[in-house]
């Protein structure tokens, strides 16, 4: 019946093409000099074990998998509606529970307990270090960019600049940069936190005031330019920043309250708690900002800048505010990273970092604080795992290919993100239904 209809056969072809690509991606890399065909051989002809059952060439394995996928899809499609309805009824109760305030509070408490006791379960200090450096710092960055992109709707492609400013301020104030020190004695790393945050915020205002008059694409390009300038500056001005080599060692933070003295050393666990405290603080601050007048003004600007102006909102002022607020947690991420890694160098602040943070925000759900935090945890955990174990022929250079595929799939099936903010989800829904309105606008002419 419909199994062998042209449309379904076309689907089979498409699935087989995708499978072939996957086979290439997961196969051994080719050698460019000795034998250019090793890649083809490794990808398709090599005999591999089928889940330990029997041994056959890879092409057979992948074709079989492709056909199985095709069969599942063909059988699923005619029944898609009833299956979806079944899933909906099964999920109705959990969904209703999830929207309840008490459930949310309980979930939050559970999450809090888990994150507090996490170091007790992670015994290897290597993993603890990765949790802080690869997840904690990235949550901070994602939370900050979320204010700019998610709350105020400004596409910032140069967020790593604020990260760099936080880190370099730390190195500078602790005397680790060639640049002349600001104070006579280098100040302890911990006291750099407020100054690093402030420096990033000031840069946010300085960058924002002239550029935020631009909208959309133009703004994105300008922020990109700014990030490239910072990147170039730290790379080339060796006399100030240490150039490509980076800074001298940044001392570990220490806290001296007179009666209590604490020193952050080599072990990552104390950094974990420092990072955790600040993540919680930023989550609280950003949540209450979102619910304040400022948060509502951001929504207004994001949704319709002209309408926002018509009720007396000065868009520039609120956009600059979003930049400065977002920069604060990005800057703290930099301070954190400098203190933990113990060195600051330009490699930490490339364009790729900005893109990566943006990916976390989009994946987690723009405008959703919890979504963005969860998105950062999921993607950064997966990345760290892949980088360190390299399973299934995975190679570090392939990372962005997978992330790209993940984003494409997300945009198709869950465009508002993993845990979308309620407002944003509505915006996406409204955008779908709005096409009618837009045609009307065109028809009536007389554009405002």
């Amino acid at each position: 019946m419909t199994m062998f209809s042209p449309a379904n056969l076309k689907r089979l072809f498409l699935i087989l093409v995708i499978t072939a690509v996957v086979a290439v991606m997961t196969g051994t890399p080719g050698s460019s000099t000795a034998s250019p065909t090793t890649g083809v051989h490794g990808s398709f002809l090599e005999r591999v074990s089928w889940f330990g059952l029997f041994v056959a060439p890879r092409w057979l394995l992948f074709t079989t998998l492709g056909v199985i996928v095709w069969l599942v899809v063909s059988l699923y499609r005619p029944r898609a509606r009833s299956i979806r309805r079944g899933i909906d009824t099964a999920l109705a109760l959990p969904k209703a529970l999830a929207t309840k305030r008490s459930t949310r509070v309980a979930l939050m408490l559970v999450a809090l307990v888990v994150v507090i006791f996490l170091p007790k379960f992670v015994h290897e200090s290597f993993w603890m270090y990765l949790i802080v450096e690869q997840i904690g710092v990235w949550i901070l960055l994602a939370l900050g960019l979320n204010v700019v992109v998610g709350f105020a709707g400004l596409l910032d492609l140069g967020f790593a600049a604020f990260y760099a400013i936080g880190a370099y301020t730390t190195a500078w104030l602790t005397g680790a940069l060639p640049a002349p020190a600001l104070f006579h004695h280098p100040i302890p790393t911990l006291w750099v936190i407020p100054i690093g945050i402030l420096a990033a915020m000031i840069f946010g205002v300085l960058l924002g005031t002239p550029t935020l008059r631009l909208r959309g694409d133009y703004l994105a390009i300008v922020t990109l330019g700014f990030a490239l300038i910072i990147d170039d500056f730290v790379e080339t001005q060796s006399g100030v920043t240490g150039g490509g080599v980076g800074s001298a060692p940044v001392p570990h933070p220490a806290l001296n309250l007179g009666f209590w003295h604490f020193h952050w050393g080599i072990t990552p666990t104390p950094y974990y708690y420092l990072c955790l405290v600040f993540i919680i603080v930023f989550i609280i601050v950003f949540t209450s900002l979102e619910r304040s007048r400022i948060g509502r003004a951001w929504v207004a600007i994001r949704e319709d800048e002209v309408a926002a102006e018509s009720v007396g909102i000065n868009p520039l002022k609120y956009k600059v505010m979003a930049f400065a607020v977002g920069a604060a947690s990005g800057g703290f991420g930099g301070v954190m990273s400098a203190g933990l890694v113990g060195i600051v160098n330009p490699g930490l602040f490339t364009f790729q970092i900005s893109v990566n943070v943006l990916v976390l925000v989009i994946f987690g759900g723009m405008g959703s604080i919890w979504g963005v935090a969860l998105g950062a945890i999921v993607i950064q955990t997966a990345t760290s795992y892949l980088d360190n174990y390299q399973p299934w022929g995975y190679q570090i250079n392939d990372l962005y290919m997978y992330i790209g595929a993940l984003l494409i799939i997300m945009m198709i099936f869950r465009p508002a993100g993993l845990l979308p903010s309620r407002r944003r989800a509505r915006e996406f829904a409204a955008a779908k239904g709005d096409e009618q309105v837009h045609t009307d606008e065109v028809l009536t002419g007389d554009q405002p």
């Binding site: 601050v285 209450s288 900002l289 304040s292 007048r293 400022i294 509502r296 003004a297 929504v299 207004a300 949704e303 319709d304 002209v306 309408a307 926002a308 102006e309 018509s310 009720v311 007396g312 909102i313 000065n314 868009p315 505010m321 400065a324 607020v325 407002r423 944003r424 509505r426 915006e427 829904a429 409204a430 239904g433 709005d434 309105v437 009307d440 606008e441 009536t444 002419g445 007389d446 554009q447 405002p448």
Partner: protein
Amino acid sequence: MSDQVTTDLIIRAEKLTLRFGGVVSLRDVSIDMRRGEILAVIGPNGAGKTSLFNSLSGVYQPQEGSITFMARDAAPLSVIGKKAHQIAQAGVSRTFQASRLFSALNVFENIKIGAEDHRGIGLVGALVKGPGTRRGEHQSDEVVIKLLEFVGLTREANLIASQLSYGARRRLEIARALATDPEVILLDEPAAGTNPSEKLELAELIRRVRDERGVSVLLIEHDMKLVMSLAERLYVLNFGSVIAEGSPADVRANPVVIDAYLGSSHEETKA
């Protein structure tokens, strides 16, 4: 209430010329608006009505001419050169032809954004939520509740703006504009896309905006029946120029208007 209309002016636009490259959108347009009147601007598509509104509200900057807004308790304000948000804060509020609501927010939040004072907000004030901030929140909530009642959307307060019917959206837009506590409200085709019964409701609402809240109304409208019954005075624009001015009866009888706008056959009144 038309007997209350005085010669006290609230907006005076003189010799406005607005060009986009070689296209002249407004040519020497002068308009006087009296405090407390319902004034309408009519004209065929492309006559420059919306351009005029955008000039009055700071969205466009005319190259020539002047616009003065005379608020009750403030020095006359020269509108040209001011930003849209400054004009809104001064007391000139507006709605848009294709309604521009914040479509992901609910009805209450839409009005509340209008009701809030956007001038003196600092980050710290918004975060710490001191007594001043809380009082401000409370005041804007009260304004919203009153306006919801005024436009008849109390029951829809929690609906998302995009779920509303066309007529309700237009009323919400008026409520949001009123929330800024304006002295003048500019309504750009408030009845566009509404059905006949919604049109009647809107006309009633617009009259109440002036009568009960004392806000002067300037409106653009295509529906002749609505304009003629609502407006006390009319300006007729054609090809970017004012071709007539006067009471509805005068305008209807003016041969220039009939030629230029209504067409030679009165059948086509509805354009």
